[in-house]
């Protein structure tokens, strides 16, 4: 991250800005306990629940990879790509307590060949894109264990 720039969330309200232990902010139904990300405060997704009351719920910061891929070609706008373009990985991560799967980019430097289904990952904040004055932050997943020798 660049200290000369103001750091702002790329999507306000979706995650905390705690530099040590950031977390995604979802919602939790007061009646049935259903969790949603992004937060859903207007209705509960459970068809058997008509609750309209929800609490903010910080999601688990660690989970295991359900599946993963990468983006070898530059995604279209509104993605703000680096120039020159740097491919990145995307992981679908299973959160045990929430019984749900959440997507996120992997931190820079991780390649698909480094990953395996079941690997443990942890949520961090990282730069999504920058302009002259701001650095826009987003959540990403970072492998918990060091990369294996000889796997990229």
């Amino acid at each position: 991250m660049n200290p000369a720039k103001t750091q702002v969330p790329a999507q306000p309200g979706w995650f905390t800005l705690d530099p040590e232990a950031p977390a995604l902010l979802g919602s939790r139904c007061r009646k049935c306990g259903t969790i949603a990300f992004p937060a859903e405060n207007a209705f509960c997704r459970n068809p058997d629940c008509q609750s309209t009351e929800f609490d903010q719920h910080a999601l688990s910061r660690r989970g295991r990879i359900w599946s993963y891929t990468d983006a070898r070609y530059k995604p279209p706008v509104p993605y703000v790509a680096t120039d020159p373009y740097q491919p990145f990985c995307i992981a679908a991560v299973e959160l045990a307590d929430e019984k749900m799967v959440v997507l996120g980019q992997m931190v820079a430097g991780v390649e698909a060949g480094d990953l395996a289904v079941g690997d443990e990952v942890e949520l961090v904040l990282d730069t999504l894109h920058e302009d002259d004055a701001h650095e826009y932050l987003v959540w990403k997943w970072r492998p918990v264990r060091p990369r294996k020798e000889g796997r990229g």
């Binding site: 999507q11 259903t34 969790i35 983006a71 070609y73 995604p75 279209p76 307590d97 019984k99 997507l103």
Partner: protein, 397 residues
């Protein structure tokens, strides 16, 4: 069990990258379907359009747009949007109109003109639209999601890159015989595996392109069909357009997360893709073991294997065996995508689910020259789009 409606005519504008107005493709397909049915445009009582969202206002009111292009006649009209299931939803609207006795004969049309490259979201800054946000915050394109499923399949069932390539080789061979397909050359496994990786593990030749194209069908009551000399028409036995069931635990485009299963207990129900065809089988009173030919939405090669299981052609984890045994190639036990599939067509969203029904109809009539599934009497289509829309159509003869 629902009553049948007759498919009197089918028509298509060849898929390609023609760069013309989508209305031209729809009009071409509609006129072909009318000629195939032996009817005049003035005979049509109900017009059902499948909408395109990338061609301005005329695309949002496609039923009226096609009706105007054919010439206003005072026919009843509707326009349907349901992502990739738009075409089947337009068929469902026409079928319901006929089964309710409100109309005897209907024309269903879908057509699209597509931009180059990845499908991008509709323009503007729309921070309440998950489809816009997944591109902006994740750089997650459609192939991102297809690749997540593909990797998961490799992990769970031991699918290999060679299996995925074999799906492409099969579909390219089928498509080479189809005059309406966009890609009409056979490819080798070596060529597939030499094409660049787009989203690991999927390669360029394994991900469906976006195309221009148009498809149409003429549907009628069985009574109307008899009166007009169609003695043994192909019929629609069921149309399924069910929603997913909560909790939806498979990550779906364009979402950031699945539903949470914390509030539910017991065995998980069918996944969304499983429930789509299941509802069609139940409605028709026909089981998957009776199916002779299937058209499934092979957005990627790997996804075609998922569909084998989801539409009941084999048990979970057995799709690779079905493929390797040659069962799903024309000439095999249960051919899948004899048209060449999306692999040979590229996706023309509102036309695609209608095109599946066109292909199944031609198969059941024995008119699928060069790719005919001999003696086919029951066909099923399956399709899945964004935001919980999907469809399956069961046809019989």
């Amino acid at each position: 069990m629902a009553e049948r409606v007759a498919i009197l005519g089918v028509g298509m504008h060849p898929w390609g990258k023609w760069g013309r107005n989508f209305v031209e493709y729809g009009l071409h397909a509609a006129n072909e379907a009318l000629a195939d049915a032996g009817l005049a445009w003035r005979d049509i009582q109900f017009v059902s359009g499948a909408d395109t969202i990338r061609n301005g206002y005329p695309g949002f009111v496609s039923g009226a747009t096609f009706a105007q292009a054919l010439g206003w006649t005072g026919a009843r009209v509707t326009s349907c949007y349901a992502a990739c299931a738009s075409g089947a939803t337009a068929i469902a609207a026409a079928r319901a109109q006929i089964l309710a006795g409100l109309s005897d004969v209907a024309l269903v049309v879908g057509a699209d003109t597509t931009p180059k490259g990845f499908f991008a979201p509709v323009g503007g800054e729309r921070r309440d639209d998950p489809d816009w946000l997944r591109f902006h915050l994740l750089g997650a394109t459609n192939p991102t999601y297809f690749a997540l499923y593909a990797r998961r399949r490799m992990e769970l069932f031991g699918a290999t890159e060679a299996d995925f390539a074999a799906v492409k080789v099969k579909n390219a061979r089928h498509g080479a015989a189809n005059p309406n397909a966009r890609y009409r050359t056979e490819v080798t496994a070596g060529e597939v595996l030499a094409s660049p990786v787009v989203a690991d593990p999927l390669r360029l030749l394994e991900i469906c392109a976006t195309s221009d194209g148009g498809a149409a069908v003429v549907l009628s009551s069985m009574e109307f069909a008899r009166r007009h000399g169609h003695r043994r028409p192909v019929t629609v036995a069921a149309v399924s357009t069910v929603t997913p069931r909560f909790p939806q635990t498979v990550i779906e485009m364009p979402n950031f997360a699945t539903d949470s299963a914390v509030a539910t207990s017991g065995e998980p129900g069918p996944t969304f893709r499983q429930s789509i065809a299941r509802a069609a089988y139940e409605e028709a009173g026909i089981g998957p073991e009776e199916v002779d030919v299937a058209e499934v939405y092979d957005l990627s090669t790997a996804l075609e294997l998922d569909w084998y299981e989801d539409i009941g052609l084999c048990k979970e984890g057995e799709a690779e065996k079905l493929l390797r045994d040659g069962d799903t190639a024309v000439g095999g036990r249960i051919p899948v995508n004899p048209s060449g599939g999306l692999s040979s067509f590229g996706e023309a969203i509102p036309a695609q689910a209608i095109a599946q029904v066109c292909e199944l109809s031609m198969q059941l009539r024995g008119q699928a020259s060069g790719r005919q599934v001999e003696g086919a009497k029951v066909g099923v289509s399956a399709n899945q789009g964004l935001f919980g829309h999907g469809s399956s159509v069961l046809v019989t003869r």
